[in-house]
Amino acid sequence: MRTATYATRAVCAAAVVLAGTACGGGTGDSGAVLSSSWGDPPNPLEPANTNEVQGGKVLDMIFRGLKRYHPETGEAEDMLAERIETSDSRNFRVTVKDGWTFSNGEKVTARSFVDAWNYGASLRNNQRNAYFFSYIDGYDKVHPEGGRQTADTLSGLKVTGERTFTVRLNQTFSTFPETLGYPAFAPLPRLFFDDHGAWLKKPVGNGPYLVQNYTRGSQMSLRAWDGYPGHDKARNGGVDLKVYTDNNTAYTDLMAGNLDLVDDIPAAQLKNVETDLGDRYINTPAGIIQTLAFPFYDRNWGKDGMEKVRTGLSKAIDRDQITETIFRSTRTPATDWTSPVLGEDGGYREGLCGDACRYDPDAAKRLIEEGGGLPGGQVKITYNADTGSHKQWVDAVCNSINNALGDDRACVGSPVGTFADFRNQITDRKMPGPFRAGWQMDYPLIQNFLQPLYYTNGSSNDGRWSDRKFDDLVDRANAETDTGKAVDFFRQAEEVLRDDMAAIPLWYQNGSAGYSERLSGVRLNPFSVPVYEQIKVG
């Protein structure tokens, strides 16, 4: 069997060389299947339970929600939504398009959405992303901060017809419709509720692909769904996602022709990747920013006057050199607190950080001295050492700071063994100094880069920074119905952030991928996930 495939491959290769034709029916064989690297999702694969890229990859293939972010621009476009109407940015009337079904034939109705959202919000289902529904009225009843839930469904959701439902929020939130492209808002078929175990073994959705076979922890085979009613039908026959423990092995497999697509080039291979793959290597901006956060609960770091020290540290970091030598330009020095994928209209402003993010060792030294020096004479940058190449860049940042201050002991890295332990120390407010903070956007809105991270008691406000002026500006932005004006308020809020240097922006992270000669049309979306349905094989 195996020799046979090798033989055919050899014959095909010979044919290509001799006659200049491709094997397997010209370019873009719509029936051909590609293989792609994957990681085992750490949480159960449910829409409201998936908060990382690996699970998100699958959800993006098998689900379509009311909105979908354009793979290139990131703009939220109507998918299953025919209309989302509001007059006060608080009460929304949603009409679902006709003619959509799940891959098992069940119709997608207003109820498919409302049931799914109620499931996601309900405390008893342990959904990691439940807080996405926290803007909807009645969330505090189905998901109280403590004690038992007193309601099963969100009072803010009402089915008003087969294809219509209304949403009432507990506050004005003008960009709420734009958040609905997030996978947590996907519709779910009855099977999900009636036979949950069966659904988890073989998820059923309404996207361009359907799950043919799922061996947990090792492989998922997805095939193009012929009956898919949307305009973004799959241009290939399917995708085999293979779990790799180590992305170095995936890269080796790609080099050997054993794998078609690797969507995370290992750091160690970045220096060879261009000679290895040439134009089959892509490196495009993604909605990810890396920052250094500060423990504002610690008086040493939070007291007045320390903003000078924080700004000084920011100016002591040579971002250009670090992104070039360590990351081989897969990161771009950050000059604001959002991401270039938002675009100027969406709120990204190049250079908003200005002088405060420019490398200037003399000014850095002066500012830190003016601010009273480093607390305890030394900064410790805490990071988790189990994933990514955090150690390398933390050491480089420390080097840069030490050189700027002319003190070998001014900055040291402080590794924490596992991500869970790192998160624990953050949650328990035990950080002794600045620490690694990364943010991958949930949806391409400036709101998502600011509110969760810097608003008082925001869900990801790890440093517990708090500023009334910032909060006010965010509130006003959310209440604003005009997007342009809302973005203006968000930008003003970002300036408050800059003046206090609530977190040091380091760099914007790119998504990187490499693919085999068989593929064409490979592209990463702003979430650094390959746009599988557009890939052509052959």
Binding site: P42, N126, Q127, G217, T249, A256
Partner: protein
């Protein structure tokens, strides 16, 4: 013999309890794993509390351990954080690792003992010197270097094998990883056999056998080898456990979804249930393998009797 086995089996109980308790405490010391489940944000306290309750993490350690051991005795090894029962993980991981270990052990026995016999009988000759040198190189180079090098040469440069093992992990694909896994032990087996053989060659019973006029083949296989293999069998027996647990590096290089992979992931995610479950089974394997080795002594050397 029977009493001996029973006594050994009874001795296993305290070892088993002690080992699981140690692992349980070690994973516990790493801290609360729930915070790692919510990505770069704080888990909302209500969900975190519910998850803690579900995985029993809200109980004091001693009670967690007792509950866990109680469940294990009824065959319930708990649930991993992704909602999969640990027994299901074991069901997919152990067959793969056992296959890999078998390949490694077979290679170790066949190649290692053959090389040992060849060199032991030709001491000081060029064969002996070159094999000795080769084993020295294998022992001194770390497994991950050998593994990556072989993978790159055979998998990419020459294209003889696939660089990674597919999800089903058929026996054919496991030969190269098995060789990498066995390499260091193989070198030890060669050296051990060689020394032991060389030592026993001068013993009285060999001289007697030769004086009796027995053919050389019979002297070597029935008399010399049988007595020389006792230390080798001990080594291989204890190596079974080490190979199964130590396959983490090899499994990672060749992307084999076995025990090493599950353990690695379990440790990173601080998943007590997975780690303790897998280690418990590994401890059992180790204990049983040791018992079998001790019983094999009696077969190899009739002078050893167990009562």
């Amino acid at each position: 013999m029977g009493r001996y086995v029973v006594r050994r089996l009874l001795q296993m109980i305290p070892v088993f309890v002690g080992a699981t308790l140690l692992i349980f405490l070690m994973v516990h010391v790493m801290g609360d794993p729930i915070a790692g489940l919510c990505g770069e944000r704080e888990c909302d306290p209500a969900t975190a509390a519910r998850l803690r309750g579900e995985f029993g993490l809200d109980q004091p350690v001693w009670r967690q351990y007792l509950t866990y051991m109680g469940n294990v005795l009824t065959g319930d090894f708990g649930t991993a954080f992704n909602g999969q029962p640990v027994t299901e993980l074991m069901g997919t991981a152990f067959p793969v690792t056992i296959r890999l270990t078998l390949v490694a052990i077979v290679l170790e026995i066949v190649i290692g003992i053959t090389l040992g016999v060849v060199t032991g009988l030709r001491r000081g000759r060029p064969v002996d010197t070159s094999v000795l040198l080769l084993t020295l190189v294998v022992i001194s180079v770390p497994t991950f270097v050998t593994g990556l090098l072989i993978q790159l040469l055979l998998g990419v440069t020459w294209g003889w094998i696939k660089p990674s093992v597919s999800a089903e992990a058929p026996l054919g694909e496991l030969i190269v990883p098995g060789l990498v896994l066995a390499s260091v032990s193989l070198a030890y087996v060669t050296r051990l056999t060689r020394t032991s053989l060389a030592e026993n060659r001068r013993s009285d019973y060999v001289r007697t056998a030769i004086a009796k006029g027995l053919p050389r083949r019979r002297v070597v296989t029935r008399h010399l080898l049988r007595n020389s293999l006792i230390p080798v069998v001990t080594f291989i027996g204890t190596d079974i456990g080490a190979l199964m647990g130590g396959a983490i590096v090899t499994e990672r290089i060749f992307n084999i979804h076995g025990v090493g992979y599950q353990l690695y992931q379990g440790i990173l995610r601080q998943n007590t249930q997975t780690v303790v479950g897998f280690v418990t089974v590994l401890v059992l394997v180790f204990l049983v393998a040791n018992l079998l080795v001790d019983l094999l002594y009696a077969v190899l050397d009739p002078r050893i009797r167990y009562a």
